[in-house]
C-alpha cells in the first residue's frame, strides 16, 4: 500500500472507533431503557468481542487489497458502537444492585477495568514482542492479542447469561412504568436534557481530558516528545498504572462518605494546576527533567527561534506527509520532521 494512503487509513481506523461511540450510546441506551440492562449489555459485549476477534483474522493488504483496511474500519465502527452501549449498562447494572450507601465503592470496580485493560494489553504486547521478536510481531504476532480476546468473550458471555436483570429496572418494568420513548424523554424534554448537558460540561468532559491526558498523552509524550524508547516508556507506564489502580477503589469508597462532587472537583483542580504550561508545578516539565535531562538543558541553554515573515507561515500539521512546503518559513519548520 502507498505509505500516505496507509497512514490515512490508520488515522481513520483509530478515529472511527471513537467517533461512533455517541451513536452507540443512543442506539443501545434506548434499548437498555426499553428492553432492559441485562439483555443490552449482553448484546454490546458480544458485538465488541466478535469485532475484536475478527480484527485478528483479517487478511492483509497483500491478500485482500483495499478491502482489508475498509473491513478494518468497519470492525472498528462495530467496536465503537458496542462500547457506546456497553459502559452505561455495566455502570447502571452494578449501581442498581449495590446497597445505597456503597454505590460509589461498588461501581469503582468497573472504573478500574479500562486502566486494567490498558495495563494487560501493554504487558501482553511487551511479552509477545520479546518472545517472538520485532519482525515476527509486525508480520503476524500482533494478531495474537486479538485472537486471545475470544477467551475473555466466552467467559463473559457465560457469566452474563447467569445474571438476573437489575432489580430496580425489573420492578419498574413489572409495574409498566418504563419509558416507551426514552430518547425523546431524555433529550427532547429540557428538564432531562439539561442534566445531560450539565453532566457533559461539568463532569464527563473534564474527566475525559484528565484521563486521556494522564494516561495516553503521557505515554506519547515520553516516546514522541522526549524520545524515550518504546519498551522503557511502556514498562514505566505499566508500573504507574499498577501503582495507581487501587486509588480508583479508594476514591470510589471515599465518595460514599464525602460525596462524588468534592473528589471530582479536586481532581479537576489538581489537573489544571499541574498540567498548565505556565504552572511552576507542571508535571510534564518535571517528567522532562527526569526522563530526558539533556533535552531540558539544551532547551534552556540554546533555545531555538524561527524568525520569519508571518504571512509566509502556514499551519504545521501534516496529515499525510505529502504536502509540499514552498515558503522559507515552511522550509524552516518542516526541517524538524527530517530529524532522525
Amino acid at each position: 500500500m502507498p505509505a500516505n494512503v496507509g497512514f490515512i487509513f490508520t488515522l481513520l481506523a483509530f478515529a472511527a472507533g471513537f467517533a461512533v461511540r455517541p451513536l452507540g450510546a443512543l442506539i443501545f441506551g434506548r434499548i437498555g431503557d426499553i428492553v432492559g440492562r441485562k439483555y443490552t449489555f449482553l448484546v454490546t459485549m458480544t458485538l465488541m468481542g466478535v469485532g475484536t476477534f475478527f480484527i485478528g483474522v483479517l487478511p492483509s493488504y497483500a491478500q485482500w487489497g483495499i478491502m482489508a483496511p475498509v473491513v478494518l474500519i468497519a470492525l472498528r465502527l462495530v467496536q465503537g458502537l458496542a462500547l457506546g452501549g456497553e459502559y452505561g449498562g455495566a455502570a447502571i447494572y452494578v449501581a442498581e444492585h449495590a446497597p445505597a450507601d456503597k454505590r460509589g465503592y461498588y461501581t469503582s470496580w468497573i472504573q478500574t477495568t479500562a486502566t486494567l485493560g490498558l495495563f494487560m494489553a501493554l504487558l501482553l504486547i511487551l511479552a509477545i514482542r520479546n518472545v517472538m521478536g520485532e519482525a515476527a510481531f509486525a508480520d503476524w504476532g500482533w494478531r495474537v492479542p486479538f485472537l486471545l480476546s475470544i477467551v475473555l468473550l466466552v467467559v463473559s458471555i457465560w457469566i452474563r447469561l447467569k445474571l438476573n436483570e437489575s432489580p430496580i429496572f425489573q420492578r419498574m418494568k413489572d409495574e409498566g412504568r418504563t419509558s416507551k420513548r426514552p430518547l425523546k424523554e431524555a433529550f427532547g424534554e429540557w428538564s432531562n436534557a439539561k442534566i445531560a448537558l450539565l453532566a457533559l460540561l461539568g463532569a464527563t468532559a473534564g474527566e475525559a481530558v484528565v484521563w486521556y491526558g494522564g494516561q495516553f498523552y503521557a505515554l506519547f509524550f515520553l516516546t514522541q516528545t522526549l524520545k524515550v524508547d518504546a519498551t522503557t516508556a511502556q514498562v514505566m507506564i505499566a508500573i504507574a498504572l499498577a501503582l495507581g489502580t487501587p486509588f480508583f477503589i479508594i476514591f470510589g469508597w471515599l465518595s460514599d462518605k464525602v460525596g462524588r462532587k468534592p473528589i471530582m472537583l479536586l481532581g479537576f483542580a489538581l489537573a489544571v494546576l499541574t498540567y498548565a504550561p505556565a504552572s511552576s508545578v507542571n508535571i510534564f516539565k518535571a517528567i522532562t527533567h527526569y526522563a530526558n535531562p539533556a533535552l531540558e538543558s539544551a532547551l534552556a541553554t540554546a533555545p531555538v527561534t524561527v524568525a520569519a515573515d508571518p504571512s509566509e507561515c502556514s499551519f504545521q500539521f501534516k496529515m499525510t506527509g505529502t504536502e509540499k512546503f514552498t515558503t522559507s518559513c515552511d522550509t524552516a519548520k518542516a526541517a524538524w520532521s527530517l530529524r532522525p
Binding site: E185, G206, Y217, F268, P293
Partner: protein, 153 residues
Amino acid sequence: MNYKNEEAPKGTPAVVKVGEEAIPTNRTDFVQALMAAIARHGYPVKADPDQINRLVTVLLLTVLVIFVTMVYGPIAAWLVELFPTRIRYSGLSLPYHIGNGWLGGFLPATMFAIVAATGDIYSGLWYPVVVAAMSFVVGLLFLPETKDVDITR
C-alpha cells in the same frame, strides 16, 4: 522540536536561530547546517537510557494516574444518580461517550496538532487545562451532590 516564533520584516527569508547561532533558510545546505547546529548545542536524538531517572519518572506518572482515579473513580455513581431510572441508560450514555469518545479519544491528536502549530512542546497541555477548568466551574456551580439520592425513583 521545541521552538519560539519571532516576527521578521516582510519579504525577508526565514532564519532559524539555535542559541546565538543563526542559520538562514536560503543557504543551500540549510537542513544539514541546522541539524549540525542542533546536535552541537546538545539536543539529543534519543533520551539517553543511562540518564533516565526511572524511579522518579514512574512516581510522577503515578501521580498522573492518581489524578485520573480521582475524576474517574466516583463518576459512574455520580452519573447513575443524576438520571432517573426511566431514562438512565440513554441519559447517561450520551454525555459519557461524547466526553470520552470525542473530547478524550481525539485528545492525543488535538494536543500534538497544537504543539505542531505553536512549536512549543508543552502548549498542547492547554487543551486539557481549559476543558478541566470549564468542568470545575460548571460542576461546582450547576451539578448537585447525589450520594444520598434515591435511585429507585
